[in-house]
């Protein structure tokens, strides 16, 4: 046995970081991993659709109106009714028709125009909508916009909530009083009324929806981040940082923030689910995504009229896409929460 003294001081056994531990726990969660894969697949789909590789021509009217899904086969030709279509040449009215002299001129001008005859298909994989647009492309494009709005709005709400919460919890005093007052004000008005009031003044559009949801949804994040900052403010590591001269902002954002970021991440993912649902409802009501764009909400609002006529596929496609994504995302958020904060496991 040779007793070799290490030249350099032995590596201090690094305790596993919070993220690494969380990832290890997360990997053991089978449901969480499957959900993560589904969410990742959706994100790839969105990236493809945003760069125009898929569903670029979602507005092209490729099928016959309300084309049924391929599995159902083409719709039988419609019965034209009891009135017989007249046969034989039209009665010559040219002597009394005031427009008759110009028909020839118009026919010539019409001949100059090039019209593209598109062959409309009878069936589409997921069916077609009222105008014959491909429902599958619409659902993909709709996913892009709905998820984009949900994620961006959640990011905005989280940013506001984090900044306010950090300021209130760390600095305290007047700022805390003021922000607590602001929180109470926003909390006193029922959510949906707040959203309606903001929608009434800001108008319509994707940016507006993000703004409305972000500005009305920060309260929950604020509350939790504030509580965390109050808890951490006087911990020893923060005092140590202060002792070596770290500025207030450095202590807030370089020292405390990474230690509470798991709380923020969980909140963020819960907000995404809530905001996606909210966007769908706002778009349905005509307060969200404008008509020249498509989201799950606008698809559902078209689907309502189609359903009465028996065309159920657009409803089914929008519901399916949304249900799969939202279920996967919520399960993933649950798994994250369990992995990052084992104390909360099982609580809901």
């Amino acid at each position: 046995m040779t007793a070799v003294l290490p030249m350099a001081p032995a590596k201090v056994a690094h305790s596993e970081g919070v993220w690494r531990t969380a990832w290890r726990r997360f990997r053991n969660d089978r449901v969480g991993m499957v959900s993560l894969l589904i969410v990742a697949a959706f994100l790839v789909l969105i990236a493809l659709s945003a760069t125009g590789l898929v569903a670029r021509h979602w507005q092209a009217e490729v099928g016959v109106p309300n084309a049924p899904p391929t599995v159902l086969g083409p719709r039988p030709p419609e019965d034209l009714g009891a009135i017989e279509v007249p046969k034989g040449p039209n009665v010559d009215l040219s002597d009394i028709d005031p427009l008759a002299p110009r028909y020839k001129e118009w026919a010539e001008r019409a001949a100059q125009m090039k019209t593209q005859e598109t062959q409309r298909v009878d069936t589409l994989p997921f069916g077609g909508d009222r105008l014959g647009r491909d429902v599958l492309s619409k659902a993909i494009k709709g996913s892009e916009i709905s998820i984009f709005v949900g994620v961006l709005a959640a990011a905005l709400a989280t940013l506001i909530g984090t900044l306010f919460g950090a300021a209130a919890g760390f600095i305290g005093k007047r700022i805390d009083d003021f922000l607590e007052w602001l929180y109470n004000v926003f909390n006193a008005v029922p959510d949906i009324l707040l959203i309606f009031a903001f929608a009434a003044v800001f108008g319509r559009g994707i940016g507006t929806v993000v703004l409305i949801l972000g500005l009305t949804g920060w309260a929950g994040v604020y509350r939790q981040v504030r509580a965390e900052f109050i808890k951490h403010r006087n911990r020893e590591y923060v005092r140590a940082a202060e002792a070596i001269g770290a500025s207030a902002s450095s202590r807030m954002f370089r020292h405390i923030l990474p230690n509470v970021s798991h709380v923020i991440l969980v909140r963020l993912s819960l907000l995404v689910v809530g905001f996606i649902k909210a966007e769908v409802i706002l778009s349905y009501l005509g307060l969200g995504v404008p008509v020249d764009q498509v989201s799950w909400g606008t698809m559902l609002s078209e689907a309502q009229a189609e359903l009465i006529l028996g065309y159920w596929w657009q409803l089914a496609a929008a519901t399916l896409f949304m249900a799969v994504f939202v279920t996967a995302f919520s399960l993933m958020a649950d798994a994250w929460r369990d992995a990052l904060d084992p104390k909360l496991r099982g609580a809901d």
Partner: protein
């Protein structure tokens, strides 16, 4: 107790002022010019100027805020811009419809979710618990819209069990004819989140020492569950119901829109589409007031249910 009550009421004042200011400045600086909305599409320059003067919009902002505060304190909101109906009348006639739909929904929601939650919490980790949890997760991921669209189509249009939509002057007819379908759909949607929440309350209680003690004393499971656990779980449960009460007054606006129920939620939605600012402003301020009062009442109730709670 009285000191607490007075202090809580006193604390509401700054919050309420905040809500009023929020609404005032939101509409003043971000909303479209009321004179232009009121004048309509063909208004001349002079007409718009006349309306501006009439509404006092040409005065400095603090004078306008003063007028606005006076309106709130005297409960005189004037009239809706779109229909010229007085706002007091508007709220008085729309609120009963909302309550007729929402109160049964709240009661049914609780009555259905409570036993399910208790049952699955008791059998935590079992197949039935996991099945119910999966079902609620999936049910939660489908938009409320889809439930209403399909429910209205299947139960009212196809099967004809209920009227597709409608409302009458008699509360009884409303309750028996027009409320069942919206209530059924709302309960189907509402039960999932309620069950999950109540389950977590029960789980929390089941983990306590007193449950083990009760079992160790040889009490039957029924006694433990219904006498000890249920009573303790009632505290967070009642609080939760209390905090969900203010939501009733806005009503589920989606239900009101789909089923043409002349309630408050639908009215506010219509006001948003018409740019009818007074309706939105009044609804926001008064419902904020109501929310705060109900929350205070809930806190007092909390004390009543749980003697351990000390109000400070």
């Amino acid at each position: 107790m009285w000191a607490y009550l007075i202090r809580r009421l006193w604390q509401m004042v700054p919050t309420l002022i905040g809500v009023v200011m929020l609404v005032f400045f939101l509409f003043k600086y971000f909303g479209a010019d009321p004179a232009v909305i009121l004048g309509g599409l063909n208004a001349t320059q002079e007409q718009v100027a006349a309306i501006t003067a009439q509404l006092g919009l040409d005065k400095p902002w603090y004078v306008q805020l003063g007028i606005y505060l006076k309106q709130i304190i005297t409960f005189d909101w004037g009239r809706s811009w779109a229909t010229n109906e007085s706002l007091a009348n508007l709220f008085g006639t729309r609120l009963p419809a909302t309550l007729t739909v929402m109160v049964p929904i709240l009661i049914l929601d609780t009555l259905v979710a409570l036993p399910i939650a208790m049952w699955v919490a008791y059998r935590r980790g079992s197949l039935s618990d996991r099945t119910i949890m999966v079902i609620t997760t999936v049910a939660l991921s489908i938009s409320f819209l889809v439930y209403i669209i399909i429910g209205q189509y299947v139960f009212a249009f196809q099967l004809g069990w209920f009227p597709v939509q409608g409302w009458s002057d008699s509360t009884l007819t409303n309750l028996l004819t027009y409320v069942p379908l919206p209530a059924l759909l709302a309960v189907i949607v509402g039960v999932s989140p309620q069950t999950r929440l109540y389950r977590s309350f029960f789980l929390d209680e089941l983990g306590h020492d007193y449950v083990r003690t009760a079992r160790a004393k040889g009490m039957t499971e029924d006694t433990v569950l219904f006498k000890h656990v249920l009573r303790n779980a009632m505290i967070p449960l009642l609080t939760n119901i209390g905090y969900s009460l203010p939501g009733i007054f806005v009503g589920s606006f989606l239900i009101e829109i789909f089923f043409s129920i002349p309630g408050l939620g639908r009215e506010v939605y219509l006001a948003v589409n018409r740019g009818d600012y007074p309706v939105i402003q009044a609804a926001t301020v008064y419902l904020a007031m109501l929310t705060m009062l109900i929350n205070l009442a809930t806190d007092l109730l909390y004390k009543l249910v749980d003697p351990r709670v000390v109000l400070k």
